[in-house]
């Protein structure tokens, strides 16, 4: 278990900067998920931390110690990758044992260490097998076991569930958190799957354009995304975005959607008159009867999504909105007319030009 600090890490290649000043402080034992679209430098960041590449600028500190001049194999790091990267000529046992053998532990200690972690990952039955004899799921567990076996201070996991099928990915997502906690390692976990990120992370660091745009606990990222881009990366279906110009209405501030005035609360007074984007998540839209305060809409189609029902709606002024509700609830009739309510506390406002979320004054909506 170790405290990890990244201070201003930058790295560029001939075709341009990939990482552009990345800083982060992870507590000992914390699980930080590095999340972002593909090609944003997530893997590169792990390689800089591991010492596989040198940073152009900035430094990595483990428990306060600068790692710049420490060789990769002395940094106390365990790694697992999406392509498993097992040694093909070695059995699963020897693969898992490799970090222990490198430390010249006694054979009995190695056997104990391998068997303990293999039991946790449910691969104790296949330890004698060569990698080519293992299923993808077993390979991935073997790679994780190897990363965990050395009880590393830092565990770097590069999208380890990417290449396993959906069912196994789901099961591993449920089983991983206790395993990672038990390891005691400080974990950096890279993924492109927002559900995996939310499920595993103590905090999520959203990497876009070579920088961390937001570093926060999953719930905060989901409810209070810093930018439109972050908002769109979390949630299925994606957040609804509507171009609005907030205006004063009575004592508060409101927006007009269709012919309906939707109050968004006084805390957004500063946004009145500005070009904004209103963000509302599908599960924060209630479908009800046509009524004076509700936004009139036509039901275009109802499309079930796993345990939920997703309804595509069209407002009088042509906005397409998605609403999501538990599958057990009554579905709206296709082609019927309905009234929509936006849950007031869940309304987000973004600046249309910069994409930055507009913070409500006096803390409301930002707590």
């Amino acid at each position: 278990m170790a405290r990890l600090e990244l201070k201003g890490l930058a790295k560029s290649f001939k075709n341009g900067a990939v990482l552009d000043g990345v800083s982060l402080a992870a507590d000992a034992g914390e699980i930080v998920v590095i999340f972002g679209p593909s090609g944003t430098g997530k893997t590169l960041l792990l390689r800089l931390i591991a010492g596989i590449y040198d940073a152009d600028q900035g430094a990595v500190f483990v428990d306060g110690e600068d790692m710049t001049d420490v060789a990769p194999d002395h940094r106390g790091i365990g790694m697992a990758f999406q392509n498993f990267a097992l040694f093909p000529h070695m059995s699963a046992f020897d693969n898992i044992a490799s970090p222990l053998a490198a430390r010249h532990l006694a054979p009995a200690a190695i056997r104990d260490g391998v068997e303990r972690v293999a039991r946790l990952l449910k691969i104790d039955q296949v330890l004698a097998h060569a990698p080519r004899e293992l299923s993808n799921g077993q390979k991935q567990r073997t790679a994780l076991a190897r990363a965990l076996a050395g009880a590393p201070k830092l565990l770097l996991l590069d999208d380890p569930l990417r290449n396993v099928d959906a069912k196994l990915r789901f099961e591993m997502r449920l089983e991983l958190p206790p395993l990672l906690r038990q390891s005691g390692s400080t974990v950096l976990y890279v993924t492109q799957d927002y559900k995996e990120a939310m499920a595993l992370a103590d905090r999520i660091a959203v990497l876009i354009g070579g920088r961390f745009v937001q570093v926060a606990p999953p719930d905060e990222i989901y409810r209070l995304p810093e930018t439109v881009q972050v908002a769109r990366l979390f949630g299925d279906p994606t957040i609804n975005l509507i171009e609005v110009t907030p205006h004063s209405a009575g004592n508060g501030v409101a927006v007009t959607i269709g012919n309906t005035t939707v109050p968004i609360g006084e805390q957004y007074r500063a946004a009145a008159g500005s070009a904004a984007l209103l963000g509302i998540r599908p599960e924060a839209i209630r479908i009800g009867a046509v009524d004076a305060g509700a936004i009139a809409a036509d039901v275009v189609a109802v499309t079930p999504l796993n345990e939920r029902l997703v309804t595509l709606l069209k407002t009088a002024d042509g906005h397409e909105l998605l609403a999501s509700q538990p599958a057990g609830e009554r579905a709206a009739e296709a082609d019927s007319k309905v009234g929509l309510q936006f849950m007031r506390d869940d309304i987000l406002l973004f600046d249309r030009a910069s994409g930055q979320r507009l913070k409500a004054a006096n803390g409301a909506g930002a707590s």
Partner: protein
Amino acid sequence: MSAADVLSLDAVDKVYRPRRREPVHAVKGLSMEVRPGETVALLGSSGCGKTSTLRMIAGFEAVTNGAIAIKGRPIHQLPPAKRNVAMAFEGYSLYPPLTVRDNIAFALKSARLPKAEEGRRVQDVAALLEITDILDRYPSSISGGQQQRASLGRALVREADLYLLDEPMGQLEPQLRAILRGRLKHYLRERRMTSVLVTHDQTEANALADRIAVMEGGVLQQIATPRELKERPANLFVGTFIGEPPMNVLETRPEQANGRIRFAIAGGQAFDYAESEVAPPLRAALAARAAVTLGIRPHAIHLGQPRLRARVLSNQWLGDQTHVAAEIAGRLIVAVAHQRVAARVGEEIPFDVAASDLHLFDSQSGAVIAHGGRPT
């Protein structure tokens, strides 16, 4: 088979005979009907026979045995062009020398529409599929996902008896996917178009289809509405294949005594119900059985209500739903809730499942015994 069906398959077999290798029986005795205006999805994992079926309907593969009819007319010996079927599939690609616009318009030529009407239909379908900005591009200069949508557009504008769509939304980014699914479903319904779509993605099948045909090993397992598949799966395969997160499965030993019916699991616990909670014929069906496989949907597990206990392994809030994993008798069970759940990792929590939410399967064959405490 009824004359009113748009498509009917009657005991269709497909056997591939590769040289110097064992024959492959890809589709086995498949019979099904598609009714006017209906969208049916063929769903299964790779190798289940769904794509072979689609290709036989389209005419790209010969039928080994059986018959296929469209609107009552046998078509399985006709060339593809004589079947009056519109297709969007991989390998049935866009014409490279034509722009996306001309590719789509070409499909309208035989309808001999006025120029303005032709242009309007192309615009409409392009707007629907978000490909308006690439209408003047050539197929080689657009992405795979855009080609797929252009090909879908070309199929949708045609007048045809039947529309065959292969993974129509396959490569779509999540931001667009939900909206395009809704629009496509509306488009098909509004025009009363009859379609068969093939997919390995159950979320796509559930979103778009009126009925889903679940295939496995070349055999049709069940054809039913998405809701029926969830509530009344025909066997354990369908039960565990359909649903995300998947159905929980537990091996149990049924016991009947003192006015109670118990499904005992390893470790001494049991799903324990008063006889009155369970329909009488089911009691009879259980009497002769030493073992029964219980299937329980994740949303049917009510955490915090007493009946059984499990140890919480993880509690994951995903923004609009919670997935709680817990261990009982060495097995992982998963519960889904639509709000946050106060369950701490490592603690033992009570949970309940209503007798009406139990699915019972034969432990050997996987055949269904009963749904919801009522025999089938």
